[in-house]
Symmetry: C2
């Protein structure tokens, strides 16, 4: 990295400050001399920026380093609990909240029920109230809050950041940034839930070293996000990655979008629960949760429970879903040529043998060459990836990343 | 654009020179003062680079501009016929050659028969001989040849540029850059044919203003290339865009890749010609090219001829292919969210009503929002897009683009 010379240029000064902060983040502990060398700035310029960052509290001293000739240098590192960011994941069942500090440490975590029957303003009111509570409870002064990132299960327009359509929330054309602007004097960022998961996996999950990867999230629907050449790929208007409506079976069930056999009608918590209920109704699953009551099957967990108790028909629900998902992954492997595909949200409930079945189909149906270059794995961050990713958005902004 | 200050730094000097050259290209005719303003360089630095570019012959004086106070300034523009680049498109039937000058003008165009039975070294020998002939015929001194770009219908590895597999040529693990290195003292670039078409459409075709678009080429096979955020997206190992083996029909024919119902088995010149022959054999197309001889159906053109003479069964071949391609495009629209999809090579033979049918299916099967943002259109550059794109590669390199 070769940075510009500082001077009276405010933009350049900001750019150099951001770049040094990012060097401190990625190198963990560094001396002023290291920073001058890494940035290409003069020792004086780099020293002055370090003083500035210390004064603002972004960084702190971190002991004494090894001498490279001369006096042993002071080391600097990011200052934990100095600045914060909040991530909110609005989903159908719950709204999740994460408070993260500048180092990426999670300081606080909570969730509230989504209130399915609430109007959009009521839901947003609940989010605003909770954000205020988190700020209050954790004694965060407003100038130390870098921003609030909000994840939504829907398409978000590239430029206006308006939520175009979030079918499972029933939201259409909602400008959350605008509606939330009253919450305080910090920026609000809105992004799609799968995009947030990819941001999370790339910042602190299993894709920190990957430039080309895909995240697949399954909940009531199924969606994906694509990292292309080191950046999130959004498409021309923000909806890239909407694989839920890829057709995987001509003769498949009718989808809410009007077509037949969309991936989402075959692989989603909702469709799998519906299928389980249908099987119970037909008498094919009789020992479901030790009861015949269809109403006791409310979530993927109930099906997982039945599989664990040895119910073969319940297991077939997962096997079939994995088969269809495998076809969709094969298409993605051919089209995107990713190095990793990370399965998140309720897909982490796939057991090892189901996952193996999924891998077999995806790799057999894809072309040999891209299939040989891809790893298919489960996210290790469970259901929180979207809330975590949303919290990372203001951090990425601070460290000079393009969003 | 803010460029670095020139000085003794050779790299920076090269960077500034390249950037000014690109400013001259994109602004057509500019003065030294314009260039200083556009680049952020000092008038002295920018003037010195202009002198350098004039001396090397890349640019020339282009008359006198309008005064913005003071003397009317000299204008500069790219110098036609000063530097050249050669594009080669190796395909199953022909090898096409393009000689292009620095301004993008095609100076010479030729094709030779591919020599289907030739070994790889024989084919490459024919290419080398023809490249030498073009250089000789056009009196190009070697130091004025920026390089040779070669397009191949196969997967090209990102880093080694080795051709991993070109099924329709029967080539596997061929290092063309290496094998061609003896041809002269200029660089050789190898790229996939669909990637070359996208480079072409973005440099001088219908996508010069597009950042996110997809090119689809149909010949013996079918392939695509994706421009993502203004750059060609190659995937983790160079094979992104291989849509030929996306499954579009569970019950479709067996494909050479081992799977069933791949797009390529239903939409490609080869599969469509085979289908026409099958229909003739079954007596369903009786007036084909005014003969019943199956062997007279050798290309898409023969089917087009039959359609033009009013043969309905022949038309159905195109309608069905358009239907399957429409499904694949719907998947791409959902996954990639492109602003344009450009149909090239033999797809330009689709008549307006077939194209309309294709558009209807693609847009109806895709999600409403991304469908509303995409245009599906035919390439206006016919069969030459890959040869043109290959010739543009050395130019892009000269103007400082990432390949």
């Amino acid at each position: 990295m070769k940075l510009g010379k500082t001077g009276n240029n405010k933009f350049l000064k900001q750019f150099n400050e951001t770049s040094l902060l990012e060097l401190i983040r990625t190198n963990k502990q560094v001396s002023k001399a290291d920073l001058a060398q890494l940035s290409g700035l003069s020792p004086t310029a780099s020293g002055s920026i370090v003083s500035n960052l210390l004064e603002k509290g972004y960084i702190r001293e971190a002991g004494i380093g090894i001498s490279k000739g001369g006096r042993r240098p002071n080391l600097y590192e990011l200052n934990p609990k100095s600045y914060y960011s909040i991530g909110v994941d609005i989903d159908v069942d719950f709204i999740r909240f994460i408070l993260m500090d500048i180092t990426g440490n999670v300081e606080y975590r909570d969730k509230i029920s989504s209130g399915f029957d609430q109007s959009v303003p009521e839901s947003i009111g609940a989010v605003v109230e909770k954000v205020r509570q988190i700020v209050r409870l954790n004694n965060i002064s407003e100038d130390r809050l870098l921003g609030v990132g909000i994840s939504v299960p829907g398409m978000v327009e590239n430029k206006t950041h308006e939520i175009i359509f979030a079918p499972n929330l029933g939201w259409e054309q909602v400008n959350l940034e605008h509606m939330m602007s009253g919450v305080g004097d910090f920026p609000i960022y809105v992004d799609n839930e799968a995009m947030c998961s990819a941001i999370c996996e790339n910042w602190l999950g299993c894709c920190t070293e990957q430039k080309d990867f895909v995240c697949i999230n399954m909940k009531s629907g199924i969606g994906s996000s694509i990292f292309a050449g080191g950046n999130l790929y959004r498409g021309c208007s923000g909806s890239a990655g909407e694989i839920g409506h890829i057709m995987v079976d001509h003769n498949g069930p009718k989808c809410a979008c009007g077509n037949y056999g969309c991936l989402e009608t075959l692989v989603s918590s909702k469709s799998m629960v519906e299928k389980a209920r249908r099987l119970v109704r037909q008498g094919l699953i009789t020992d479901f949760s030790e009861t015949l009551d269809i109403n006791s099957i409310n979530s993927i967990d109930d099906i997982v429970g039945a599989i664990k108790s040895g119910n073969e028909a319940a297991r077939v629900i997962f096997v079939e879903a994995a088969g269809y998902l495998g076809l969709a992954l094969a298409n993605l492997i051919n089209t995107i040529n990713p190095s990793r595909i990370v399965l998140g949200k309720e897909l982490v409930k796939f057991s090892e043998d189901i996952l193996e079945h999924l891998r077999n189909i995806a790799l057999a149906k894809a072309l040999r060459y891209p299939a040989s270059r891809v790893e298919i794995l489960l996210s290790e961050l469970g259901e929180d990836t979207s809330a975590l990713g949303a919290a990372i958005i203001p951090l990425k902004k601070l460290f000079g990343y393009r969003l």
